[in-house]
Amino acid sequence: MIKVVNLHKKFKNLHVLKGISLEVKKGEVLVLIGPSGGGKSTLLKCINRLEEPTSGEIYIGEILITDQKVDINKIRQKVGMVFQLFNLFPHLSVLDNITLAPIKVKKINPELAKEKAYELLKRVGLLDKAKSFPSQLSGGQQQRVAIARALAMEPEVMLFDEPTSSIDPEMTKEVLDVIRQLALEGMTMIIATHEMGFAREVADWVIFLDQGKIIEQGPPSQIFFSPREERTISFLSKIL
């Protein structure tokens, strides 16, 4: 479903991703862990080309999206993204946050889009917040709206960039529960996170990324219970 081959990303002289290759099959969950500054966000943003890769290939499904000829806006409709800082649209109600892209991008009938939005709000447990504005919601609620907004485009793949890092610890569970549910339903996902318990539970595969390189990867049982690399061990000992 997602395939990355020898991806490099440089910001001017700063070499941030140094030859990343990975593959996520349909319905699988890949978890990215690693110290801050290691390149997790940049990797995720390359996968929907919010950042332009410097070299390498990325496939979504059968499509080589690093080809400059692809219509990237079409691709992005299939790749939902959830950000660390939610990035809800503050001037729009929760409902409009969710329906805007389906209506304007997918040209879905507004009534239908609304119905769908209510369904999604119910799913993330925020049916009563449809008319609220983002500033009236807690961090955990905002992030759940952001997930609903991404799901409203009916993506085939979801990318999560540290979805609980800016949320009060008491509220992370409600967000993680929503993501857990998505995993159960078979959504293909890449999740960058520092929530190791959660990672252990939902991941089919874990990649430890440090200084732009994959230092170690494997099933969660291996990475969390018998890591082989010195840097993985020291990272995990610090975070657990």
């Binding site: 992005r76 790749v79 993204m81 990035n87 991008v105 991404a150």
Partner: protein, 218 residues
């Protein structure tokens, strides 16, 4: 002091006409300035260096030279290349082109003050750059630039007095004509002063009110 109440009162209808012309020049010029300014600001933040530098150069030239000179060029120099504009049109063209540069910078500041994550979120949903601008960035930026934009109206009310040098009978020129006819300096100019203040004070008040509301809202 040669203030004369009779001359002052007699002059009011004439000054009112001038004030209407001032208002017209201002409204039309700033409106055109807003449209052109929006385009300039999009050029200024464009990834394309040609757009970026050409709009940047335009803004530098306009802001780095006197408005009076710009008006004189449009009115007196353009006819030599076959472009003959009536005085009012020349004034509107000059004031609009000038306003565009200032409004352009106001827009640019407003757009760039919107968090980068907003554009990213919009694009991640499949919106084009222009859809993201239209539905996400500009509505938020517009709220933030409303105070300086209101101020721009107030300054243009004053700046448009330079159109008097192109023989456009706006407020200032009406006053000067009255001075010449009535052989009295003070009475007409007190009227002119009052008319300018009646127009500018509500605007500057509105601007600070909007500014305060914005601070509370954010």
């Amino acid at each position: 002091m040669d203030f004369n109440l009779e001359i002052f009162v007699e002059g009011i209808p004439y000054l009112l006409k001038g004030a209407v012309m001032t208002l017209r020049l201002t409204l039309i010029s700033v409106s055109i300035g807003i449209i052109l300014g929006l385009i300039l600001s999009l050029g200024r933040i464009s990834k394309n260096p040609v757009f970026r530098y050409s709009t940047g150069l335009y803004i530098e030239v306009i802001r780095g030279t006197p408005l009076l000179m710009q008006l004189l060029i449009i009115y007196y120099a353009l006819p030599s290349i076959g472009l003959n504009l009536p005085a009012v049109t020349a004034a509107i063209v000059g004031l609009s082109l000038n306003s565009a540069a200032y409004v352009g910078e106001i827009f640019r500041g407003g757009i760039q003050s919107i968090e980068k994550g907003q554009m990213e979120a919009a694009r991640s949903l499949g919106m084009t750059y222009f859809q993201a601008m239209r539905y996400i960035i500009l509505p938020q930026a517009f709220r933030r630039i409303l105070p300086p934009l209101t101020n721009e109206f107030a300054s243009m009310l004053k700046e448009s007095s330079l159109a008097s040098t192109l023989a456009v009978t706006e407020l200032l020129r009406s006053g000067r004509e009255l001075v010449a006819w009535k052989a009295n300096v003070f009475s007409p100019f007190i009227g002119v002063t009052l008319f300018y203040l009646i127009m500018t004070i509500p605007l500057t008040r509105l601007s600070s009110y909007l500014e305060k509301r914005l601070k509370k809202g954010d």
